[in-house]
Symmetry: D2
Subunit: 188 residues, 4 copies
C-alpha cells in the first residue's frame, strides 16, 4: 500500500465553534473523537499529519455567493480547533479554495515525504473533502475518504456523498473506508 498521510480538512474554529454554521458545527464536532483516534495511530506509526485549513481574504471570489466571509487569514477563527491541535512535526497548510491542492504545495510535500496514499478527514464531505480526494488522484496519490472521520452539515448529505463516490471509475484509487478498515490497513 505504500506510505500513508492523514489530511485533516477545515476542522477550524470558525466552522466548528460558530453559531453561523449550525449544521456543520454540530455534525463536525461529532467526528472529533474518531479523527483523534486516527491521528493517534498515525503519529505512533510516524505517518505525516497535514492540516489543510481555509485561509481566505475578505474579497475572495467564493464569498461572492451566499457564503459569508469566515476563516480569514491571520484570524483566530482560521485556526484548528483545540481538540485537534497540531503537534510539533505536523504540517499546516493554508488553502484559499476548496481543494487542499489548489494553489498549494501539498503535492510537492507529499512527494517529498514519499507518501502514496492520503487519508482524507474533516469537513465537508461533498465539497472540500471530496475535492481534496479527487485532486489527490489527479496528482498521482491514492485517496481514502474515511467514513466516520468526515461529515457534512446534514448526516444524509454525508451519506449520499459516500454512496455516490464509493464505486466510481476511480475505484480503487479512490476508496471510501470505515475507520476500522483503514486502521487495520495501516497497522504493521
Amino acid at each position: 500500500m505504500g506510505k500513508h498521510a492523514v489530511i485533516v480538512v477545515d476542522m477550524l474554529k470558525d466552522n466548528l465553534e460558530s453559531e453561523e454554521h449550525f449544521g456543520i458545527a454540530q455534525e463536525g464536532r461529532k467526528i472529533i473523537p474518531r479523527i483523534r483516534e486516527l491521528l493517534e495511530t498515525a503519529r505512533t506509526l510516524g505517518m505525516p499529519v497535514i492540516y489543510a485549513c481555509d485561509s481566505f481574504l475578505p474579497g475572495d471570489f467564493i464569498f461572492k455567493g451566499r457564503m459569508k466571509p469566515h476563516s480569514l487569514r491571520g484570524t483566530e477563527g482560521a485556526k484548528v480547533i483545540d481538540e485537534l491541535a497540531p503537534r510539533p512535526g505536523d504540517l499546516i497548510l493554508e488553502k484559499r479554495r476548496m481543494s487542499s491542492f489548489f494553489k498549494t504545495d501539498l503535492d510537492l510535500t507529499l512527494n517529498t515525504l514519499g507518501v502514496e496514499t492520503i487519508l482524507v478527514t474533516g469537513i465537508a464531505t461533498p465539497v472540500c473533502v471530496l475535492l481534496t480526494a479527487m485532486d489527490g488522484i489527479s496528482y498521482g496519490f491514492k485517496a481514502v475518504i474515511v467514513e466516520e472521520c468526515t461529515a457534512a452539515h446534514k448526516p444524509e448529505i454525508h451519506r449520499a456523498t459516500l454512496d455516490l463516490y464509493c464505486k466510481t471509475g476511480m475505484y480503487p484509487l479512490l476508496r471510501i473506508m470505515k475507520l476500522d478498515e483503514i486502521l487495520a490497513e495501516i497497522k504493521p
Copy 2:
C-alpha cells in the same frame, strides 16, 4: 450575468461509441440532442464553445485502478463524436485528468475571452462535469451544470449528483439549471 461559455466535457468516441462503457455510452447518447440545442444558441449568440477532451497517455496514473486505457492522445477514440463535431472557431482542449482545468490553460482562455460564467455539459455528472464546475469556481468563474445536457452511467447517479450539489455553500456561484432556464438567461 456577464459573458457565458459552453464547455462540452468528454463527449468522445471512446466513451460513447464503445461497448466497453455500456452505461455511459447509452446515457451519454441521450443528451446529444440537448447539447446540440444549447450549442446552436451559443454559436448564434457568439458565445465561446470549448470542447474539453480526455487525452491520456497509456501509463497515466488514473489507469492504475480498474479503468482501462481509453481516449489515448492522438487516437481516433479521443475525438469528439461526429454529432457534436467542433466548428471553426471552437476551441479544443486536451486534458489529462478529470477536471477540465487541471494542468490546462482553460482559465487563461476564459479570462482572455472575457467569460464570467461557464455552462458545463457532457459526461459524467459526478466526476468530470462536477470537478470542472467546482474548479471553475476556484478559478473565479460562476458555473452552471446544465441538467439535461449532462449524464452519468446510470440515471439515478446523475440525479443523485444534481440533488447533492443543487444547494451547497457555493450557491449561486454553482447552479444546477434546466436547459430552458439557461436558454432564457442567455438569450438577449
Copy 3:
C-alpha cells in the same frame, strides 16, 4: 498604470545573517535601506506589501544539487530579517521553489487585491527575483525589477542580469527601473 504591489523576495535570516552564503549576505544587506525606502512609500500609499519567503523541507529536490538545506519551514532562519520586519496588514507567503508564484496563491491574492503591477525587490536578481517577475507576467501582471532594491551574490552578476533583461520581447510588461523612477511613478 493601475494598482501596484511590492514583493520582497527571500530577505531572510538564513540568507543574510549566515556566513554560509557570504556573497549574497554581503550584497543583500546593502539593499536593505533602499527596500525600506520603497516600503515606506508603499505603505503610505496603501499599496499591498507581500513577503515571499523560501520555506523548504529538508528533503526538497532543490537540495539535491550543491545547495545545502536552509530556510527550512518553521525555523528562525526562514523568517524575514528584523530590519524589514513585516507590519500588520502585510502578507507573508511561504514558497517552496524559486518563483514566488510556484504552487502558491500569489496570483489569486494579487487579483483579489486589484493589483496590476508588481514591484519585485530582494534576492537574488538572476534567480528568484527574475523568475518571480517572469511568472508575474505569465499570470497577467506587469512586472518591475527595482534596480537598487535587488542584489545577487556578486555585483557583476546583478548588473549582467539587469542588462540581459532590460529590453526583451516582454518589454514594457517587464521593466528594469531605478528606485527614483518607480517612486515617481507611484506617487500621486
Copy 4:
C-alpha cells in the same frame, strides 16, 4: 543519470520563417543542424522528444507589450518548421506562455514517461529556454541547456545568458552543456 528527454522549444514557422523577427530567425536557423543531430541520437536511443510550441490567442496578455501577435493557435505559423518536423511517437505541447511547464501537462508527461533529466533546446535562450529549464527544476527534473542547440536574437545575448546561469546555486541540477558532452553522457 536516469532517463533523458529532449524538449524543442518554439522552433516554429512564425519565429524562423518570418521577416518580422529578423534576429531570432537568423540565429535560430543556425542551430537547426545541431538540434537534428541531437534528435537523431535521442530517437535512436528511444528517448522521448517533446515539441513545446507557442500557441497563443490574439488577446493574450503577453501581446499587451511591444510583441505583436504571432504563433496563433491553429495557424500555420504556430507549426514546427519542416526541417525539424515531429515524427510519429513525438509529443507536441501547445503552450500559452514562456515556460513549457506553465499551465501544461508537461510535468505529468515527463513523470509518466520516467524522465529524470530534460535537455532543453530551441529559442530563445534567456526567455523560453531558460524558464523551461528553471521550471523543470521546480517540478523535480534535472535540466540541461544545450549550448549549440539554443539561440537568442543576438549571439552576445545567447552567450551572456549561458555565462550568467552556468554556475548558479542550482548547479548541477541546472547545467549548461556542449552538445558533444551531452551526447557522450546519453550514449550507452
